[in-house]
Symmetry: C2
Subunit: 167 residues, 2 copies
C-alpha cells in the first residue's frame, strides 16, 4: 500500500495549467482547493461500495495519508455532501454514513435497512418503474411547491433473511 507524501504531490495530482476534468477541477470550480487530505479521502470513497462512517473513512485514509486528522474527514465529507458529490445517509445506527454519488446510471440504487441488525442491502431493481414514477413526481412536486429537487432517497425498513431465521 502506497502512502501519500508531499514528494509525491506532483505525481499524484494533475498539473497546474492542465484543465483537470477530475476532482481537482470540481473543487476549484467551486472555489475550493485540492489538497492531499482530500485526495486521500476521495481515494477511500472511490475504492468501496460500502457505506462508510466518518470514522471508517478516517481509519482507511489514515493508512495512505498518516498525517490526516479526523476533523478534516468530517469537514471534507460535509463539503462533498454540500457539493452534491456525496450522499449522506442515516441508517439508524447513530452515525452518518456516506456513499459517493454514482457516476453512471447503472450505479443508481436504494437501500433495504434491517431494523434488527442494521444490515444494509443495496438494490437496483425496479429502476425503470422507479425512474418513471420519480420523473413524474419530481416534475409535479417541483411545480406545485416551487421546490427545486436535487436528490432523493428511498429506503425500505424491515427484517433481513438472516434475522428472520434467527427468531
Amino acid at each position: 500500500m502506497e502512502t501519500i507524501t508531499n514528494k509525491q504531490r506532483k505525481v499524484n495530482m494533475p498539473g497546474r495549467g492542465m484543465m483537470s476534468p477530475g476532482w481537482g477541477g470540481k473543487f476549484r470550480g467551486c472555489g475550493y482547493r485540492m489538497t492531499l487530505p482530500r485526495q486521500a479521502i476521495l481515494n477511500v470513497l472511490q475504492k468501496t461500495k460500502k457505506h462508510l462512517s466518518a470514522e471508517d473513512v478516517y481509519m482507511e485514509a489514515h493508512k495512505i495519508f498518516p498525517h490526516l486528522g479526523l476533523t478534516t474527514v468530517y469537514r471534507t465529507l460535509e463539503l462533498l455532501t454540500d457539493m452534491g458529490e456525496l450522499n449522506k445517509f442515516d441508517f439508524g445506527d447513530g452515525r452518518a454514513r456516506y456513499e459517493l454519488m454514482e457516476i453512471s446510471e447503472e450505479d443508481h440504487h436504494h437501500h433495504l435497512v434491517c431494523t434488527k441488525c442494521k444490515r444494509i442491502i443495496n438494490y437496483s431493481d425496479f429502476v425503470d418503474e422507479e425512474l418513471e414514477f420519480l420523473k413524474r413526481a419530481e416534475k409535479g412536486l417541483s411545480k406545485k411547491y416551487n421546490f427545486e429537487i436535487n436528490n432523493h432517497i428511498i429506503q425500505f425498513y424491515g427484517v433481513c433473511d438472516k434475522c428472520k431465521k434467527s427468531k
Copy 2:
C-alpha cells in the same frame, strides 16, 4: 390546559376489565404498561402534524404532566418506534424527529426537505402512482432478498421556494 395528575388516572385511562381498543391495549398487547408519562407523550404526538424532536415532545408534554423527565421521552419514542407506531426521521438538523404513524390511508405522505433552511414540506400527491410502484417493488424485493418489509420512506432533497427567492 389540564395537567394530568394521579387522581385523574381512572378518568383518563380505559378501565381495567374493558377491552381497550386504544393505546393501552396496544401497549399491553406488546407486554408493556400504559402509564401517565406515556399518555402525556401520546397526547402531544396526536395533537400535531409537526415533526417534533425529543426535546419538542418533552417541552409540550411537560406542560400537561409536569413531573415528566426527558429520559422517559427518549425511551417512549424509541419504544413506539420499535412497536411500529411512530416514524423516526433524520432531516439533517442534528436531531431525530418523529411523527405518529398515519391511521388512515389519506394521511400517508412523504417529505420535501430543504437543504438550505431545513424546512419540511409534507406532500401526499402521486399516492396512486406511488402505491402502484411500491406495491410491485415491495413484492419483488421481499421475494428476491427474502426481506420482510415493514415500512418505507421517500424524501426529496432540494431548495424550497423561499430559499430560491433569497439568493
